[in-house]
Symmetry: C2
Subunit: 347 residues, 2 copies
DNA sequence: CCTATTTGTTGGAACGTTCCAAAGATGTCA
DNA sequence: TGACATCTTTGGAACGTTCCAACAAATAGG
């Protein structure tokens, strides 16, 4: 087993050429004679040669073909999809992905980023843990490693970012509910300590005002941004004196929880109460009722992030680029508008 | 930026010692003088030194501290959780995780495994893509790299495996439904082309027979192992002449789909029809009704897999070990047994 | 026949670490 | 004082690759 691995020198010796020639073959150089090439290739196959990228990366200017991906919560479908999107393009560009999960722990995040640097990543995609600050990314960008943050922005960091148009999303959601005749729409779920919350909430508030409806604190039902949180938010909302008739939710998880909570109270989402989510996770279209939601396409976002990163890696230098991806309201059934159902298809 | 990175020699020069001493400090050797150590450490911090693992791994006998993780479908919560479990223990053992998603593509799987080998992983955990054969893992184990397969077994491969006790799981599910008085129980979802299906199905069939109930092909409602598939299975089941009154589902995704399908037909899962899932994904406990299911704890499974792998890595040699993790029926509401639950609604 | 040019091939140095054998200090004992 | 032991430090050789400069052989142009 641990008897020395097969190296280029072994191949060279066996094939009767020099290690330089083997190296040339390895890189598909046009300089080598066709006959030599096939002979070397045959020998490699025969001896079971495995390329040693570590050794190759050692050379001064070598690029490592490793890109680091850090997500804050892999168990959330949204981020898992994001990672899959990244993996797709990264993989087909011949790179490989170092993926780590931080579980929203900023210490963990620091550790994994440090570890990734030691392994010589040539680019980093990170969906930052809560409370991530510019200083956390500073050393990486100082080392000239391109960084792309996704989903959540990091204020003050000179890095590229790809976030969805949160403001426009909730704005559109409110407009739609208003057009269905709702007079009292609440904002359900999430905690007001993140940039994402702020953006989504602002879109909500401005749209309410723009529709000429009264806006007040009593329309906000804060809770954990999870399914369980959605249940809590409904409980909160329904005990009020003048409960809302529709909810714009912080994300799809909350929206599902809101549906659960409504049913537990004998009210059917879509028929008795309008529910709109945010993210368009895969379950959204198969749930009953199918969830009306703001579509974000996490996988596409992952792909875009990876493309942007690869572009920067190849360009050699990384000018910070801030992209907000446009979102789209996907009308299904949970808002109560699903009458004319037959053809609403998503890409 | 790309002006040469800081190396041990730079540190050595700046601190007035030899590179060997710096190396000793790096490894926390007790041989170095306390004063020297602090001076070197200070210099490292000052110059912004980053350890180069690639170079270190180059030495003949070096262990890479990288472990590869390959999953067949990261967008499925089950596997995402599994990956998180692995990450946890791997991370805290000072290793780092190379994670890749194969999307059930065997070609992709071959590629990523090859790529991982080139990066010198010192262990591999894989949840094999469908139709993976022993030969796909052969080169890896031949290279003396410990391999642990999870979730799905690979027949004939001389590697360790951790799979859940599928047979016992569905067996227990049936027993429970029988104890609730069901006389006609169906097996919903999944395609009979995988070992997992076979095991779960066998547990189901044997339990039906053991309960003295008639077993026939008309109790099987095959479909995609997804939420959408669950809806299809219900459609299939309900058009029969003598439809079942309860379902043991291939997995939780199917079970959720079955609930959706039932509702779409005006029947309430838990009250009018018993539903039992398999996996116990996170959503299972918060769904309405909460899903009765066979708990597999994917995260725990990931942790165990990682522990086993690390053990083998440290032991130097890997004796194949086949572990089946025990499962547990978690009784919630969807089976109709939740009578004594405080919040239960009847009409 | 001599010089260029093209086509393949090649040794050796370099990359950043670890590890070994050995060497300087310093102290201890007889 | 000499012989040892202990503590700390140190050059240099590896590890498996890439790349450069050089070279051999064959072809072409004058």
């Amino acid at each position: 087993m641990s008897k020395g691995r097969v190296t280029v020198v072994d191949i060279a010796k066996a094939a009767g050429v020099s290690k330089s020639t083997v190296s040339l073959v390895l890189q598909g150089s046009p300089l080598v004679n066709e006959g030599t090439r096939t002979k070397v290739n045959a020998t490699m196959r025969e001896l079971g040669y495995v390329y040693n990228r570590g050794a190759a990366n050692l050379r001064a200017n070598a690029k490592s073909k490793i890109i680091g991906v850090v997500v804050n919560d892999l168990t959330n479908t949204f981020f898992a999809e994001l990672a899959v999107g990244v993996d797709m393009v990264v993989q087909s560009a011949g790179f490989v992905q170092f993926l780590s999960n931080t579980s929203e722990s900023i210490d963990r995040q620091r550790e994994v980023i440090a570890s990734m640097r030691e392994h010589g990543i040539s680019g980093l995609i990170v969906s930052p843990a809560r409370a991530t600050e510019a200083v956390d990314l500073k050393p990486v960008v100082a080392a000239g490693i391109p960084v792309v943050v996704v989903v959540r922005n990091v204020p003050g960091a000179k890095v590229s970012s790809i976030v969805s148009d949160n403001y426009a999303g909730t704005h559109a959601a409110v407009e739609h509910l208003v057009s269905l005749g709702h007079q009292r729409i609440g904002f359900f779920g999430g905690f007001p300590d993140t940039a994402v919350f702020e953006e989504r909430f602002n879109g909500f508030r401005d749209a309410i005002v723009a529709a000429g409806q009264p806006f007040g604190e009593d329309l906000i039902f804060s809770s954990a941004p999870s399914r369980a949180g959605g249940v809590d938010a409904v409980a909160l909302a329904m005990q009020g004196i003048n409960p809302p008739t529709a909810a714009v939710c912080f994300n799809d998880a909350v929206a599902f929880g809101v549906c659960d909570g409504l049913r537990a109270r004998g009210r059917e989402p879509g028929r008795d109460f309008g529910v709109v989510g945010f993210d368009d996770v895969i379950e959204a279209k198969t749930a009953v009722p199918a969830l009306t939601t703001v579509s974000v396409d996490p996988q596409g976002m992952g792909r875009r992030a990876a493309q942007l990163l690869l572009k920067q890696i190849n360009a050699g230098k990384a000018d910070a680029e801030a992209i907000t991806t446009s979102v789209r309201l996907v009308v299904r059934e949970s808002c109560g508008a699903g009458q004319n159902k037959p053809g609403r298809k998503t890409a």
